[in-house]
């Protein structure tokens, strides 16, 4: 990471700590903001957060690794999460998954080269009556067919 980038990030995190405070319970909101902006929380960012909250970097990493919506590895601008739980599976998740993989040319767990989309599985999103379902960022899409899923994916910027 360049020194300038580090300085910008440092400043940004300092502002976040000003907003949310420096107690341990401010950790998750701070991490969420960093995740939202950078699509991941870098090693440097984790250590900066740890320094400002007076905790150990490994504790920050522990929290990030626990929550599926926080990531310590770079992710795409958009994250597509297809439900893998049993009702969506019975409703035809497999063919939807294959169609998305073919369309994007990547497998689940990977990110497209242009950083547009990361593809992931998720556990139940509570749409069991309307499966197969997927999440794109915060938005839910239900009753997917392979064609419909590809159409939705192609609309993502």
């Amino acid at each position: 990471m360049l020194v300038m980038e580090k300085n910008f990030l440092q400043e940004e995190i300092e502002k976040l700590v000003e907003t949310f405070g420096n107690s341990r319970s401010a950790l998750i909101p701070i991490l969420q903001e960093i995740q939202k902006k950078h699509h991941y929380i870098s090693e440097f960012a984790q250590q900066e957060v740890a320094r400002l909250l007076d905790i150990h970097p490994v504790e920050v990493y522990s929290v990030i690794s626990f929550y599926a919506f926080l990531s310590s590895e770079p992710k795409g601008r958009n994250i597509v999460r297809l439900c893998q739980t049993i009702t969506c599976d019975l409703a035809g998740k497999y063919s939807v998954a294959k169609a998305i993989e073919r369309e994007l040319g990547i497998a689940f767990g990977e990110t497209t080269k242009d950083n547009r989309i990361s593809l992931e599985y998720t556990n139940c999103v509570g749409m069991c009556d309307q499966g197969p379902a997927m999440l794109i960022n915060d938005k839910v899409y239900t009753r997917l067919s392979p064609e419909k899923a590809v159409e939705i994916i192609n609309e993502i910027k």
Partner: protein, 637 residues
């Protein structure tokens, strides 16, 4: 952050109820019924404590007397009347009258189930594990009669063994996620290397970004090894290399032994803690094939001379010459865990650290120079082994700057556990050995060197010497039996003030440095002692804020709780009671010695006479006995 229970957010805190100061008041005691036996316990006692006080056995795994409550393993479950589910005894404070049962069929089945589940995730064969016969999981399995794998068993290793560190080896396959190491590293030591990473069946105890241990900020204290119930954490074992050196007829293998191992090694042979086996150990070490066995206390005495002189120089510069920027208080540098802690977390205070090497490294430098020359041995054929209670000493002897003799000053750091293993391998039962003394030219050292093993020991040894050198009086005149009680004991941070009412003549050895002691007349020497790096952090933060410790002149820091006797290389288990017993063994041996002050050690005087001819902190001693430190910072690349 240093408050153990204060770290976690309110919602995740274990339920802890403060015990009342006066239990005779109404509500101070609570009546309980344990297995139909009526007992009274102070309010806030946990069920586990109540049972132990009444000699009722409860199995535990994640519980450790040094650490905060976790309640994660559930092995200690008991039946509490009126509760729907079984309760973890270690995490249940008694606040109202309770009826509990510890040995019902439900409890038995639940515990067995829990142990079966723990074992199903635990990979490894007991007979190739260093914790064989001293493993808490193994004994639980025996206690609950595990004769087959009810829930299957891991067939293949899932993780690679992390051998990157000079000191600590991690084998995650043997980990049962009790989080004792996590609590040790964060709460007890304030270093924070390990935490639980990921969740569900992928959970593992790992470092920041899963880096190898050598790449993260670890002070190598090895306290995690002493807390681990299984073989998931162990010290980096040099036994094979040492056996090879012993077998090589061209090698001259010498061993120096630190004060703490001799007070604890008997525990490895089934003897209760608190018995020193110095003489027996010396014989056993020779019988293993070591050519010489020396006493590290000799260089502990030398450390007192060097570090004490350095302190006098610093005080003289600050008080008489009125020099700017003299780094005071001076910090001790004997504990390599503490030294690395300072290099990482407070690198701006490196000038305060005494430049004197630790006794181990001083000895290493002397063996390959002075000893080799005196005995006409080529230093390249000398293999120097250091018996230490410490995991960090393994890192220290591998520091690149520790080659002042022209060779690697100390070749191997060996822990108490590993020596006990070697003695067993050698077919020797230690308690049967006859007693013998240490070898010359270093001989038997003073009791002041011996008490380096306990927290406060370096300070006490320094005080005994400084008081006599400065006032010209006997230490016995000022302290009963020369026992400096204010710096003894297991309090986390100790503070003491020593007035200097009278001064005597300057002794010969220091004449080159100070003209007289008049400038110390009427002064008060302020000292502090702390052990465990969590306590060190408190003291350092106080110094940073300009508090009372910033006015101290000399502060002793030890990385491990209890000092070296509670070190990461000592026999497992180490608990508060065991540390007390080991300290007693050390202090008793000190009182029994004829020589109890470093400056009275004739071997020390003779080495200044023959070899370090320009005296303490002189030119030669600076080259061989002093070192420099590296500011490391707390960022991980």
């Amino acid at each position: 952050m240093s408050d153990k229970e204060g770290r976690a957010p309110e919602s995740q805190k274990p339920l802890v109820v403060e015990k009342p100061d006066d239990t005779s008041k109404i509500g101070g005691m609570v009546s309980m019924e344990i297995n139909e036996r009526k007992v009274q316990v102070p309010l806030g006692t946990t069920i586990l404590e109540a049972c132990r006080q009444n000699d009722i056995h409860i199995p535990t795994l994640c519980h450790h007397d040094d650490l905060c409550t976790a309640g994660v393993c559930r092995v200690c479950v008991v039946e509490v009347e009126g509760m729907r589910t079984l309760q973890a005894a270690c995490a249940y404070p008694v606040t109202n009258p309770l009826k509990i049962k510890t040995s019902t069929p439900l409890v038995r089945k639940a515990r067995k189930h829990i142990i079966d589940l723990l074992i199903s995730e635990h990979y490894g064969e007991c007979y190739s594990c260093f914790r064989n016969n001293n493993c808490e999981l193994q004994s639980l399995a025996k206690e609950y009669g595990v004769d087959h794998y009810n829930f299957g068993h891991v067939q293949k290793p899932r993780y690679e063994i992390d051998k990157s560190s000079f000191s600590v080896v991690r084998d995650l396959d043997k980990c049962v996620l009790c989080k004792r190491c996590v609590r040790t590293c964060i709460d007890l030591q304030e270093v924070g290397v390990l935490e639980a990473i990921d969740r569900g069946d992928k959970t593992r105890i790992d470092t920041f970004m899963d880096k190898p241990l050598a790449d993260v900020i670890c002070i190598n204290c090895g306290q995690c090894i002493n807390r681990c119930p299984t073989g998931a954490l162990r010290a980096n074992d040099p036994r094979d290399e040492i056996w090879a050196a012993i077998d090589d007829p061209n090698k001259h293998v010498v061993m120096q032994t630190a004060p703490s191992p001799r007070a604890a090694i008997a525990e490895e042979f089934g003897i209760p803690a608190g018995k020193s086996m110095t003489g027996e150990m010396n014989t056993a070490i020779r019988r293993l094939g070591f050519d010489k066995v020396f006493d590290t206390n000799f260089t502990a005495d030398l450390t007192i001379m060097e570090e004490g002189t350095e302190l006098i120089i610093r005080l003289f510069q600050a008080l008489v010459e009125k020099k700017e920027g003299v780094a005071l208080p001076q910090f001790t540098s004997c504990s390599p865990g503490w030294v690395k802690y300072l290099e990482h977390f407070y690198p701006e205070y490196i000038p305060n650290l005494s430049s004197a090497k630790s006794p181990q490294q001083m000895f290493g430098a002397l063996i390959k120079t002075y000893y080799a020359k005196e005995n006409n041995i080529d230093p390249k054929d000398v293999v120097s082994v250091a018996l230490m209670p410490c995991a960090a000493k393994k890192f220290e002897c591998n520091r690149p700057e520790m080659t002042d003799s022209g060779y690697k000053d100390v070749d191997f750091g060996l822990t108490t556990r590993e020596l006990a293993q070697m003695i067993k391998e050698g077919g020797i039962h230690l308690p049967e050995m006859p007693q013998t003394h240490f070898d010359d030219p270093f001989g038997d050292a003073s009791g002041a060197g011996l008490i380096f093993g306990a927290t406060g020991g370096v300070m006490e040894a320094a005080i005994r010497t400084v008081v006599e050198l400065v006032t010209g009086k006997k230490a016995e005149d000022l302290f009963e039996n020369a026992n400096v009680m204010p710096v003894r004991g297991f309090e986390g941070v100790k503070y003491a003030e020593l007035p200097i009412p009278v001064v005597g003549p300057v002794p010969e050895i220091l004449k080159a440095l100070v003209p007289n002691w008049d400038w110390l007349k009427g002064a008060t020497l302020k000292v502090a002692v702390c052990h465990g790096t969590a306590n060190a952090k408190k003291v350092m933060d106080d110094i940073k804020a300009g508090g009372k410790f910033s006015e101290c002149h000399f502060i002793e820091f030890m990385a491990c709780p209890g000092g070296c006797l509670g070190g990461g290389g000592q026999p497992i288990p180490t608990t508060p009671e065991i540390r007390k017993a080991r300290a007693k063994a050390i202090y008793t041996e000190d009182e029994s010695l004829p020589l109890r002050k470093s400056h009275e050690n004739e071997h020390v005087a003779s080495i200044y006479d023959k070899f370090l001819t320009d005296g303490p902190c002189g030119h030669i001693s600076h080259k061989l006995l002093h070192t420099h430190y590296t500011p490391r910072g707390k960022y991980i690349d």
